[in-house]
């Protein structure tokens, strides 16, 4: 079985990962994902810890009734639920429309580059191409032969 049991995640030394990391598609993917995740997560932290801090230090305020016993604290807690659903849905939408197509293009570019470079594993400048993964893939290859 290719997806052999022993060993961790299969490494793929046949792909030029350094080039993949530098490709404009990958850079754009990382930049776009960050520009969504970082502000969204910052908002979550502020809104959530704001709620927790108010619960800890301002119990009177949280217990104030907005409408016949429906309190500020309960209303704020419900906004946390709405926030989780909304930001989850928003991320899904953005991932489908923006991140996935970019990820696909970055992968295709990396695969095409590796195919072009093979069989000579010549790498562009950027440090020595050590191959520490080779021993790990070696063991997995061994297993494939054995089984």
């Amino acid at each position: 079985m290719a997806d052999g049991a022993a060993g961790g995640s299969t490494h793929h030394p046949d792909i030029d990962w350094e080039a993949a990391e530098r490709s404009p598609e990958f850079r754009e993917l990382v930049q776009k994902r960050r520009s969504f995740v970082i502000p969204a997560l910052a908002f979550v932290f502020i809104w959530y810890f704001g709620f927790i801090v108010l619960a800890g230090y301002a119990p009177g305020f949280m217990g104030e009734s907005i409408y016949e016993g429906f309190t500020v604290g309960y209303a704020l807690a419900l906004t946390q639920f709405v926030m989780t659903w909304f930001l989850g849905w928003l991320y899904l939408r953005r991932a489908d429309r923006v991140f996935d197509p970019l990820a696909r293009r970055a992968s295709e570019r990396a695969l095409a580059a590796s195919r072009a470079a093979a069989p000579a594993t010549e790498t562009p400048a950027g440090g020595p191409r050590l191959d520490p993964a080779a021993d790990r893939t070696g063991t997995s290859g061994e297993r494939v032969r054995r089984s």
């Binding site: 022993a6 961790g8 995640s9 792909i15 927790i52 309190t71 639920f81 989780t84 970055a106 992968s107």
Partner: protein
């Protein structure tokens, strides 16, 4: 000891249990026929769909502690009980944004696969396995003890027998059916739990004349402390504890090995992220309804003069509420509703402990045995064989500790501890391994150890354990999470740069973001896995 006004053994509850157990064992038999290789055993062949995995995550996450425990906490402490629900839910945004897709893309079977991807295999894997086992140990024993207490109270069978039965059924699922059976047990449990909660909530709202606001007022009127019932502060008198709990809940979920392991069961990152959103929809709806149960139990049981039947921890609030809205104790409707809730609670516990045990057996068999001791030279057959033995041994130990420690073990602080260890030991190392190029093996080992030791140590010297606490803090996360991160960072900066870790970060980074090179599904694992478009190229062909 029966806390409920029922005869010794509740025949109706036992019959419903029997149906649940029969169905789940039938699924286990079906799953065992398909579990022939390691990918099916650990990851259900990566053939679980996003929606199915969302239900399974919800089933894995909503323990009896949340079903009965949170309803009970709200019943007892009003608003403070609801703080847990909020933290448990918002935590999934951290999982979604930072880990879900990256785990699926870069891991294979366990959390340790991701941590050790580019670090030195043996120390990093051992540290991750240790973090996993710590979390699972606290969580599992808490669930087993909880199971024993609840089943004894609800069904009338003896505590030890209840723990033993729970343990044996759970082991059947895991040992014979692996992740495939465990997943379906979790899905069934999630459906049962949601249905029961919806029905019970509708009954409660009906009693309130369909006016949810009236529920608050009537609950408040029945409280022992009407002034403070709808405000924070009844449970947590120390605000630092409230904040510390908030941190543990928010970040702990992202370090729970049995939840993270679920992301390896889906075919790709897209399914991983949609499963998180499915899970938040289910879990969120469930927690909104637990308020109806908790406040409803206070209002309705209070008005019926039946609050005396609820135990000190509040665990019986929801079952007693069901009995009351079904018609009251002794009536056919009341007893039937109680029996149904008891059976749902039982299914809930079974699904959670099965998920915990399979993740612990992953740490022992896949991480420690196969990759640390045998250094990856064992066969797939051997790994699955060791996994089954490991699951049986872990299950047996948990049963033994739960029976010997018995009802003296405090369930709620053990679950709190599990979240604190997960947030302090597992989450920092995992996050930095995926995002920080300079991060190295020393940093991972120091971080996991520092986080685990600090969180466990603080609880041991805190007010929950000692009569004369050295530190007045019952929730350790506010200290232990920064210590975990600091351990990772200082361990890294004070040790030598690792050429391999630096070099392979590129592979991990590109792979975790794009899915290029991610492990592919196998056939026969479950309902028709979709072909992975992104890795259609056989990138796995290692040059030999």
């Amino acid at each position: 000891m029966t806390l409920l006004p029922i005869a010794d053994v509740n025949v109706e509850a036992v019959s419903i249990f029997a149906v649940v157990v029969a169905v789940t064992l039938a699924i286990t038999y079906w799953a065992s026929k398909r579990t022939t290789d390691a990918t099916t055993f650990w990851a259900a062949g990566r053939g679980i769909t996003g929606a199915q995995n969302g239900f399974a995550i919800a089933g894995d996450y909503m323990s009896a502690a949340s079903f009965l425990g949170i309803a009970g906490l709200i019943f007892l402490f009003g608003f403070d009980g609801f703080l847990y629900s909020v933290g448990f839910l918002v935590a999934f945004l951290v999982v979604l944004y930072l880990l879900a897709e990256k785990m699926r893309n870069s891991g294979k079977f366990t959390m340790a696969d991701v941590l050790s991807f580019r670090l030195n295999e043996r120390p990093a894997r051992t540290a991750a396995a240790l973090g996993t086992l710590c979390v699972v140990a606290f969580y599992l024993i808490a669930q087993m003890v909880g199971a024993g207490i609840l089943i004894q109270a609800l069904v009338g069978i003896d505590f030890s027998l209840a723990v033993l039965l729970t343990g044996i059924f759970m082991l059947c699922y895991v040992v014979f059916g692996g992740m495939l059976a465990t997943t379906w047990v979790q899905i069934i449990k999630a459906v049962l739990l949601m249905t029961a909660t919806v029905v019970l909530s509708l009954f409660v709202l009906g009693k309130m004349g369909w006016n949810p606001v009236d529920l608050f007022n009537r609950a408040q009127a029945q409280s022992d402390n009407p002034g403070g019932y709808l405000e924070p502060g009844l449970r947590f008198t120390n605000p630092v504890d409230t904040i510390s709990l908030g941190i543990a809940l928010l970040l702990g979920t992202a370090g729970l090995p049995h939840i993270l392991m679920r992301f390896f069961t889906v075919p790709d990152a897209k399914a991983a992220r949609s499963s998180v959103v499915w899970a938040t929809a289910l879990i969120g709806a469930f927690y909104v309804m637990t308020t109806f149960l908790g406040f409803g139990a206070r209002a309705i049981l209070g008005e019926a003069g039946a609050t005396g039947g609820v135990d000190e921890a509040g665990n019986l609030a929801a079952p007693l509420l069901a009995q009351e809205v079904g018609g009251g104790a002794g009536t056919a409707g009341g007893d039937a509703f109680l029996a149904i809730i008891a059976a749902v609670a039982f299914a809930t516990i079974l699904a959670v402990v099965a998920g915990l045990v399979i993740s612990a057996s992953g740490a022992v068999a896949h991480d420690v045995w196969s990759n640390v001791i045998r250094k990856g030279h064992d066969s797939e057959r051997e790994e699955v064989h060791v996994a089954r033995i490991a699951a049986a041994v872990i299950g047996a130990i948990a049963i033994a500790i739960a029976i010997i420690g018995g009802e003296t073990l405090n369930v709620s602080y053990m679950v709190g501890l599990a979240f604190a260890v997960a947030a302090s030991a597992n989450f920092p190392a995992l996050l930095l391994a995926l995002t920080w190029r300079r991060f190295n093996t020393t940093g991972a080992v120091v971080g996991v150890l520092a986080g685990a030791i600090t969180s466990i140590g603080l609880v041991l010297i805190g007010p929950d354990v000692r009569a004369d606490p050295i530190i007045e803090l019952s929730q350790p996360a506010i200290i232990s999470v920064p210590v975990g991160f600091l351990g990772c960072i200082l361990g890294t900066l004070l040790s030598r740069r690792e050429v391999k870790a630096d070099h392979e970060f590129g592979e991990l980074w590109v792979r975790s973001e794009t899915g290029l090179g991610a492990e592919v599904p196998v056939n026969g694992g479950g309902p028709t896995p979709r072909p992975r478009r992104r890795t259609a190229e056989p990138v796995g062909t290692a040059r030999q």
